[in-house]
Symmetry: C2
Subunit: 388 residues, 2 copies
């Protein structure tokens, strides 16, 4: 089962805190710390595939290489991206300060940052925030940490899976630049299951492939995306790879949907389901081409079932299909049949927030769904007025 | 030299007309005819690479295969795309009616359509319009034909190159769905030069590669894009391939800039110049990735020199570069130097319509420039309220 935000607590073996360091002009919480007290200290992570990666990503790739992670420190209010050698030194220094505060090794501290690119972090504020967060660590700190990583998010995002005697909790931030190979987001997953480090890594990769990699709000890939999973083993319940994968996938899918539901300026959440594809890759390529088509996204904002724009997007892909075989349905109305005019487009009701677009390629047996948002005045406003 | 719109006339050997057939609810001109009276009847064309192509594109590919084209008929007010077998029959029937009206062969008549996808054309109106246009043909018809192909264009677009005793004229429509491998647009180029059909074809492909393929307003590829070139030989001046290529490129580049300047809802025209690339393909890949980044485009709309979004876009490409070597200038201010913070971003003035973004990859000697537009409230408005 997946719980509602109000019920999400840390699994056993973890403490967390969120504090106001002073990085945000708004005075809202902006620094979070999540600590794994063990007995296990397994860690896994996936990062943005953007070649222009932020300094904390470069640092954290090294940290997770040995699959031991003791703590994750996260700040909003500054991305520490495109900050040159000094940016890397600052990420390192942040990890060192966490390590000193907790009596652990800096090489086991993952660092995550989010905010404006191209500005150095005010390190005196960051380090003082780390000191405060370390002093505030508590097993009840999941919510406050989730709040402290918010940027343009309007709500904090948490999810939980309860197994028999063990659990997985997750927190996420992200409300824009949501694109495959990770949305712009920071995610921390914690579990008290007894698992191997190898299983944790494999389960995390499988879970993100089926969740965060299948949302695409605005096709823009961030420099800072990080998803971390930590396992403490404190439940003393052994969990196999399949069960762990299912649990992580459930939590990640829940968080991914929350990201789409809170995407910057969006008025519709759009599920693009591609059926009867020759391969899952084909289905994903078609779904993403539609998800990235500004004209389609504007039409949905205008409650206009403009299926021609869907076909025009499908036609840009290399997927296996015959144009004359394509069917398209919007909210259950088959507006395009066999590549031509189907049911009357005026039958489609797009007034609800959630929209279901179904494209049948008639080319095989595979299916995939990608979630995206519409393109709205508020998206343009938020992203033309807010430097991030 | 390239002339201003008011001076553009047809080269010798051509007649044209634009009429109001009644396809547009607005009552504006919506059907155009361009006829080559020879003595040569060479034709070449390039089409959208969208696999979902409109019926007139399918028809016209066959027409141009033998490199003889006697006439081009174009309608706005309906794309005749995703219209199934009936759509193809309608395109064929239109060509037949042109042929009967002019005493030529239907197999030498190119058909172009633009407008809403997924609706059959009212053929009685189309055919009556063809009859009217054939009766109105005149050597002075370039302007009226250019006006009749407009859709959401706010101005008609024409350009001319004057050689010594010969010329090239061009007309274009297009104000949205402008993307590589052709903008959404219809273009007719006419020349009275004496050239071979092979040279005309080669020159057209070279010219479009350097012009229309280097504008990308909103990354959306149309189903109907067509660029046709016709040569009459009526000047009796022989022109070689290089000179013809230069002339066509000049006219196409002029028209391409006019398309960007009139793109739906745009507030800025943005030249994205990528320098010191390892290859032209690398330069184009980087420029297009930036041109398609909604966050960057929103920032420019907001007059915000958010260079971090430029680097984030560059980082999604496979081009050869080192992130720590990237330089970015906006309107002459080097806001990013060696992948990090450069000059103060507040020095950048983005208030003018034209913006120059310069990205130096420091990876080679090649350069390319792609033109795009910003992403604005008006773009969202026009494309959520207007079915096209």
């Amino acid at each position: 089962m997946t719980g509602s935000p109000s019920t999400v607590r840390l699994p056993r073996g973890f403490r967390a805190a969120g504090v106001t360091a002073g990085l945000k002009a708004s005075g809202r919480p902006d620094l979070a710390l999540v600590v794994n007290d063990g007995p296990d200290h397994h860690g896994a992570a996936v990062f943005t595939t953007n070649r222009v990666e932020a300094a904390p990503v470069t640092w954290s790739r090294q940290v997770v290489a040995d699959r031991r992670v003791d703590a994750v420190v996260l700040n909003s209010g500054g991305a520490n991206a495109c900050t040159g050698p000094q940016g890397f030194l600052d990420a390192h220094r942040t990890a060192e300060h966490v390590a000193e505060s907790l009596g652990i090794s800096a090489g086991d501290v993952i660092v995550c940052s989010t905010g404006l690119i191209g500005e150095l972090l005010p390190m005196d504020i960051v380090l003082a925030g780390v000191t405060s967060a370390a002093a505030a660590l508590t097993p009840d700190g999941h919510e406050s940490a989730a709040v402290a990583i918010m940027t343009t998010d309007t709500v904090h995002k948490v999810a939980v899976h309860h197994g028999e005697g063990w659990s997985v909790s997750g927190m996420a931030k992200g409300a824009g630049m949501l694109a495959p190979a990770l949305a712009t987001m920071l995610v921390v997953l914690t579990t008290d299951a007894v698992v191997t480090a190898e299983d944790l890594d494999a389960a995390l990769r499988a879970a993100t492939a089926m969740s965060f990699d299948r949302i695409d709000s605005d096709a823009c890939m961030s420099t800072n995306d990080t998803v971390v999973a930590l396992a403490s083993g404190a439940s003393e319940v052994e969990v196999g790879r399949d069960e762990l994968t299912a649990a992580l996938t459930e939590v990640c899918a829940d968080l991914a949907r929350q990201l789409i539901a809170d995407a910057e300026g969006a008025a519709h959440d759009i599920a693009i389901e591609v059926r009867s594809a020759a391969s899952v890759d084909d289905a994903l390529e078609v779904a993403r081409a539609i998800a990235r088509n500004n004209l389609f996204k504007c039409a949905i904002f205008g409650n206009d079932p403009n299926w021609g724009r869907v076909l025009a997007a499908v036609g840009t892909t290399r997927a296996a299909f015959e144009p004359a075989a394509l069917d398209v349905s919007m909210n259950g109305v088959q507006v395009c049949r066999a590549g031509g005019v189907g049911q009357d487009r005026s039958l489609v009701d797009l007034s609800a927030r959630e929209v279901h677009l179904l494209v049948d390629l008639h080319a095989g047996d595979e299916t995939a769904t990608v979630w995206t948002n519409d393109l709205t005045h508020d998206y343009v406003h938020e992203n033309s007025a807010y430097s991030s």
